[in-house]
């Protein structure tokens, strides 16, 4: 994407944060960014499309950094999840995304509506998947409900703490409270066996994307963290190597096969510290991964 266009996105974002989307006219954007009207309509076919561009940019950034927080951490740890939520809420707040989202809902533009609905679903789905990792597969039937309720509790508590009562309590405190609550609710709801929505509803929507990928991701994280746990002593360089492999396979645009293989080779010389079975599993995962990406390079 053009640098200039990128700049327009950034500056328009600033304007929207200050004045709101509806209240910002295209003329405002032209003056603030210093481009001409013609250029604007070269970049974006409408004001709505500009808004979508802003959102896509932010969304990518958020997903990337949110996943970055998982690297080298235990995916089953609730504390890591809390940190991820904290990060996202802080980003939401500093970017006033909530307001922008609300404005999008109003637009009556079907494309925009679809986009926002997708975004909300992705968020629910992400929380749902993380809950499965954290609370275990056996709680799964209740975790879609709980993901939805968690978002409800979180947003309402944050809203009333900050906006309505202007309470000075830190947002992290509110988040911790919400995580504590949903943890108990998950316990309660799964012993009561009370289900509202079948998780298949959301599984079906997302598994066309990358069911095998989700499985792969899960297996990879599991295997890596199992390996870490299996270490006899604290082997800093082993941890570094494992983190690197996880990072490269999960988040790199173009994972470098030779580096991963080299890292695996190095790990093999630490067999006295590591569980050899799990290491074999990791090697299998990596080779399967590269086989698949070589067959299907997109």
């Amino acid at each position: 994407m053009n640098d200039r266009k990128q700049l327009v996105i950034k500056k328009a974002h600033q304007l929207f944060l200050d004045k709101g989307f509806q209240a910002t006219s295209i003329q405002d954007i032209l003056e603030y960014t210093g481009i001409a009207k013609g250029t604007f309509y070269n970049y974006f076919s409408s004001k709505n499309e500009l808004l979508i561009s802003i959102f896509k940019t932010l969304h990518k950034k958020m997903e990337f950094e949110r996943n970055q927080l998982l690297i080298g951490k235990d995916p089953t740890s609730i504390e890591v999840f809390t940190q991820q939520i904290e990060f996202q809420m802080n980003m939401n707040r500093s970017n006033n995304l909530v307001t922008l989202f609300e404005e999008m809902l109003v637009s009556h533009d079907p494309e925009l509506m679809q986009f926002i609905k997708q975004g909300q679903l992705r968020m629910v789905h992400w929380i749902y998947q993380r809950f499965i990792e954290i609370f275990g597969e056996d709680k799964k039937p209740y975790l879609l409900d709980c993901a939805i309720m968690f978002l409800g509790i979180l947003h309402h508590n944050v809203k009333y703490n900050t906006k309505i009562f202007e309470h000075p309590s830190s947002i992290n405190h509110v988040i911790q409270y919400c995580v504590d609550r949903i943890t108990k609710v998950i316990e309660e709801v799964s012993t009561a066996g009370d289900q509202l929505l079948d998780p298949e509803l959301i599984d079906n929507r997302f598994n066309h994307l990358k069911q095998q990928d989700q499985g792969f991701k899960h297996n990879l994280c599991q295997t890596v963290s199992a390996l870490k746990k299996s270490m006899q002593q604290d082997q800093a360089h082993c941890i570094e190597l494992l983190d690197f492999i996880q990072e490269e396979l999960l988040h790199a645009k173009l994972p470098r096969k030779f580096l991963v293989n080299s890292a695996l080779h190095s790990l093999n010389s630490c067999l006295n510290f590591l569980d050899p079975i799990k290491l074999k599993e990791l090697e299998k995962l990596a080779s399967a991964f590269f086989k698949q990406t070589e067959e299907n390079p997109d």
Copy 2:
């Protein structure tokens, strides 16, 4: 309020439900209602003010009927509360109030923003007060948090059940689920002793109502007891009437105006026993009371 104006409010409401607020032009309203532009601006100073009028009308109706559901029922019963919520959610849904609310949030009109904030606070406050009745005064420190969370859970669950997944489960089922959940959360949170917001925050916002209410209470008791003292002889039926009025005005959920007026009328035929000045005062108090409750039924 003018009948014609009332009709405009009703028809404009229909239009807003069909097309949305922003998407409905004033011209649309003029054509649909058959009034002239001049008339419109005689009735409402702007489109926003029309929206506020619509909301006030609906809000009054909702509060009235919601409180109607309590008459003769046990206010501590959770089932009655559930019915009240069901009624409100069904009214919300059939009137698409949620969408209208969202559109209001966007307007950037400070008056509108203030109005909606007030409305949301009143809803939270009502739930908070009902929770106190249902779960007891001892749980009070946690019930503001729980009222907020209940609304969060409820709205999110309803949204995802109906809008996003278009799940055919009845809304009453969803509501029951949410009530069950919050009941357990209240238990859990009060044994854990975990508080986020001090209920004083909302008590303080609404006690100005109570304060003027307190003044009224005081005057009423003073006047009634003065009347009793002013009686020349022991007039049992006068005392009964006075007690009835006091009781009805102070403690009835929905004081019956016609009964109070009838009682006052009867008392007027006892003027030879009663202080006429004090009786006039009592009549003034009663009429002021009903005037206020009709304007502001809560």
